[in-house]
Subunit: 407 residues, 2 copies
């Protein structure tokens, strides 16, 4: 174990559990014999490049703050959507990063994030091979999209899944209150992978017959089939609840919302999607003539830390700790992933980052029903354990307590 | 106390606490010496007219169901939006109701609902005076809008307020994650009264500087002023969070969303509002040129029973019980309202229904700041006690347990 400091960053879109991963790394570092500084980069790699650090060891050496951190949504350290250039095209950024590593004697680098963040981890660890500087670089998964390769599932997904399913179950009751025909369309986040939308199926039980139909980006969307599916459901029940991914697209790959979207793209060139639900709402009204309403769960679904999955939070915490131990034992260029054993037990394993960076894991065919409008029992068996248990924040004055970075 | 049966109905839009009011009436009736049947009308007065009853005494005589009922969102008995005609224009509906009362020997009538439902209570109790039939008719308040006259506040408001403020606090964290200028607009329910939107202010504390601006329907909305307000805020901080009521309108009474709304109206002639947030989102993008996003909390804000205010639920339960005792002691034509005593203690009082029916209580001037873009400390002092404490449902298989009416 080389003497020196460590730095942790958070990147990509917020989740309700990303701070539990951070808390896991910090806790393990504090409990261990690690003697260096525990630094946080403020706003991810962007902050590192500006040398914007915060001393996490200092902030969390006292009592209570770690517990508050776990229940704070979004990224405590701030995030970024910085795309590292290809090193063969522009290596100046990499040289700058390693200059900063050296200047601050940073020997352990942890980056919590999704696909794009794992790309950063991959590129940095590859570049490290060309440098005569000992550093251990680890990725820690995070995404409500659950679309990282190799790992059984991703920290943050379980909490978002629990929230989406709970929202669907509650809206099912709401929408069944009148003795009237109606269609409720719930739009869930998910650009290419439908994992979170699929999780709406967890709402179904003896007291909840919703969702009736589920459309994922993995299955080409047909408006005709959709209208016919809804009509079939309406023949059997008054209220039909449909869950859709924001990213549903037709067989030509055209997003359903494309006609209404602003056309704006983010730093990674991803289109900003919104409005698929509204398109379907209008279609139901026009083509079937019943009351229709679209509800977009929007950013709220990824930051609702007032209802976290206990399983998700506990796993994220333990995984953060495992990533710390792994790096300290000399592992680099890996992501700390989840392996499912037996009925439901999770073990942590350092996984090859080159097989994860920029890959997207889609919902596999065996989890989607043959009609392409729902999920299978196999999916439920996969997803159910991830939402078990409730982890609640402490409340003061009627409001959940959060921990924020003092600036 | 006249021998006979009682009937309870629920009406209007769902809330997270309306079933706690129902549970309060049932519990008190079961615990009392009342010997008649405890009937529920399925889908409010509409169901009564079709003689669709359910035996609540039977369903709730066992263990556990009352607890489940309290944490079930929306109206357990189903709801309706039935507008009673004026009796001098058409008394046939009234005669039909009293025929059914007589047929089922109904002597106690409880109706849980908002303004329109209190109108039903008022008209029925007035009509009862012309009939030679002994019956006691009581209203029980319910509305997330908090706009019923006379009562200090309404059951259901505290839970919705807690949810809205929590959502705002969590979205504040989410939206502050990037080091970028942006404006988040949160659209809250409230057609004419801004109580629920005002409650977003409860999110503000040492760790949350949002919401920055609040616009209520009580204050004529000016787009120019709004843009100038947002610009002022952006000069001081990167991320601006704005809470607006769906029903904000300009000085001529034209709804901000009117240009985009479908124009559809409900049975009471209320316009279906949606889209004010989107209108402002576009205005911010066009006129200020920063990233903007509108989030509509939609139906979810009124049915989020996974996070109820303990104060709200306990008051609703006790108020239901008080309404039962009041009717049994011979009171009729009243609504069981809340009176605030001292610092914060609630007493229940039978209030004159004629002064409540069809009235709307707006947010008073002393609760709105002089700029018309925020609330005062007096409002916080009024609203804070209503959101204190958390009441959580029991979860099974990771999902909240609900109780549904078997059909």
């Amino acid at each position: 174990m080389i003497k020196g400091n460590m730095v942790i960053g958070q990147s990509g879109g917020p989740t309700a559990a990303i701070n539990a991963s951070l808390a896991g790394v910090i806790k393990e570092a504090l409990d261990s014999k690690f003697e260096g500084k525990i630094l946080g980069m403020v706003n991810g790699i962007e902050g590192l490049l500006k040398e914007k650090f915060t001393d996490l060891g200092e902030t969390f050496s006292g009592e209570g703050n770690l517990e508050k951190l776990i229940h704070t949504p979004s990224a405590y350290l701030g995030s970024c959507r910085y795309k590292m250039p290809k090193p063969d095209k522009d290596s100046s950024v990499y040289d700058k990063v390693f200059e900063i590593f050296e200047k601050h004697n940073i020997r352990y680098f942890f980056y919590i994030g999704g696909n794009d963040s794992m790309d950063t981890v991959y590129r940095l660890s590859e570049y490290a091979k060309t440098k005569d500087y000992e550093i251990y670089i680890m990725g820690i998964p995070k995404t409500i999209d659950n679309d990282l390769a190799m790992t059984d599932h991703c920290p943050g997904y379980g909490s978002a899944a629990k929230f989406v399913a709970t929202a669907v179950k509650e809206m099912h009751r709401d929408t069944n209150v009148y003795d009237l025909e109606s269609v409720l369309i719930v739009e869930v986040m998910g650009r290419n992978a439908g994992w979170l939308t699929a999780a709406s199926a967890l709402a179904k039980d003896d007291t909840c017959s919703s969702p009736d139909l589920i459309y994922l980006p993995e299955v080409p969307f047909s408006m005709e089939k959709f209208i016919s599916d809804v009509k079939k459901c309406l023949a059997e029940k008054k209220v039909v609840l449909v869950a859709i991914s924001e990213g549903i697209k037709d067989e030509n790959g055209i997003y359903v919302c494309e006609s209404t979207a602003s056309g704006a793209v983010d730093n990674f060139g991803h289109k900003y999607l919104s409005g698929s639900g509204k398109v379907l709402e209008n279609a139901v009204r026009e083509k079937i003539g019943v009351k229709a309403r679209a509800v977009e769960l929007n950013v709220f679904q990824r930051c609702a830390s007032h209802l976290q999955s206990k399983t998700d939070v506990e796993e994220a915490l333990a995984n953060g700790g495992a990533a710390f131990r792994e790096a300290l034992s000399g592992t680099t260029g890996k992501m700390m992933g989840y392996v499912r054993c037996g009925d439901y037990e999770i073990k942590f394993e350092a996984m090859d980052i080159s097989k994860i960076a920029n890959e997207e894991k889609m919902v596999p065919a065996e989890y989607i029903n043959s009609e392409g409008n729902g999920v299978t029992d196999e999916f439920i068996k996969y997803a159910r354990p991830l939402i078990i248990g409730e982890s609640y924040p402490v409340y003061e004055n009627g409001m959940p307590c959060h921990l924020i970075l003092s600036k």
